[in-house]
Symmetry: C2
Subunit: 255 residues, 2 copies
């Protein structure tokens, strides 16, 4: 019998907001960062959408994904400039007004005290949907925002990282999805039958096959994932036995 | 008067398929790659979704995004293993059966002739939705797939790149979105009013503001985008005049 904790799967979605990602100008770093952080919290990243700085697109993504997941995270669009419209879009998605959050305003007042003080642009960063709490930002002034199951974070990756740090251990999650990898210079097309059989025989595990080309040679890493450590070990053992029986060299941990 | 070519804006969406991106294990490289390639074709990337290896999620994303864009691209999930379900999902989304494509089968037959020949897994890569054409793949055997306005590509970035090469110049696009950048150690929160005014005065341009922290200093790059070169120049000139008037140092081309 499994404990109640492992029965419940917690999911999250991420909405990456910004024309700069869609134009190819900026290479997104937040998908991988948020994905890895969620794993440790016992929460699965179920879907990501990258949307333009267009309110209706943000609203559509936020509504759909907040509804179908335990948590929704957004990155980007909470700075001081005219193209930062995330707060307005979240408020519109939830049907609440935008207010100047007194605590956020106080934080920004202190942060900009020796930098010329608040102005119209900086004050934009104190705006939140009504009813929001703040997510601390120890790396620059402007805080992130939490409202309902939505977590609104900065887009600059090291500031996003700081906000994730502030949220570490604060969100209810389930059993973390654990994984183990074996890899080798094995063409995945030669072992697809084996992979399928091993996965079928281990209901609580998923096997992913990730091919690569290196030094002119074809290979693959096979990643087994499960929330159950015993099942995971049993599955990886069966897979290794199968690879050995078929005469392949492989490396535990992957290559 | 603008030419008809510049009047029509062509858009595309991208669906990145794969648990490995959502788990944080693999850092996606295809969003930036496809985004940059599309710019050159005169096509705007309007939205990206990253979805799990789950048929209903792929179907949902494909249906929604193929409908609302001129083109839809997918990456991932077309290999030989059991977790490669993209072809089935695309067929389901379009309501057509999956067939073994004779030309794809012939390509794979030749490719694997000196590598042990076709087997069940390798034959999976000859499957397409009925009615599809092939996208050449000069880097490994298995071709990509085109059906209607959907382009199904590999997930391994250098193979994706090869398929994009094969499509270069083949898709109808509009005027490419061109951009020019100025940047400096300028806190964006000090110039948000200026950016807003300059954008308002140049209807055919968008200005994006991308802050950074470097060597302990705050700065930003301001990117002006337009399909009209004259408007772009006028907008960037006005912006530079404004920054100069406010006493800021800046670097054309960005920093």
């Amino acid at each position: 019998m499994t404990s109640p904790k492992t029965d419940r799967i917690y999911t999250a979605a991420l909405v990456v907001i910004g024309d700069e990602i869609l134009s190819g100008r900026t290479h997104d770093k937040n998908i991988a960062q948020v994905a890895s952080w969620l794993q440790v919290q016992g929460i699965r990243l179920a879907e990501v959408r990258v949307v333009a700085d267009v309110e209706e697109r943000i609203v559509e993504a936020v509504r759909t994904l907040a509804e179908r997941n335990d948590y929704l995270f957004t990155t980007g669009g909470i700075g001081p400039t005219h193209d930062d419209i995330t707060v307005d879009a979240i408020a519109a998605a939830l049907g609440v007004p935008v207010i100047v959050h007194p605590e956020a305003r106080a934080i920004l007042d202190r942060y900009y005290a020796d930098k010329g003080g608040l102005n119209e642009g900086r004050l934009r960063m104190a705006r939140t949907p009504e009813g929001a709490k703040l997510i601390p930002n120890h790396r620059s002034g402007a805080p992130g925002i939490q409202i309902e199951n939505i977590f609104v974070m900065a887009g600059v990756p090291h500031i996003t990282a700081g906000m994730l740090d502030a949220l570490t251990g604060k969100l209810e999650g389930g059993a973390p999805l654990i994984s183990e990898t074996v890899g080798g210079y094995i063409p995945e097309s030669e072992v697809s039958g084996l992979l399928r059989e091993v996965e079928k025989a281990h209901e609580q595990c998923q096997i992913g096959s990730y091919p690569f080309f290196r030094e002119g040679k074809v290979g693959a890493n096979f990643v087994v994932r499960s929330t159950d450590a015993g099942e995971l070990k049993s599955c990886i053992d069966t897979l290794c036995d199968g690879l050995s029986a078929a005469g392949y060299d492989f490396t535990p941990g992957g290559i």
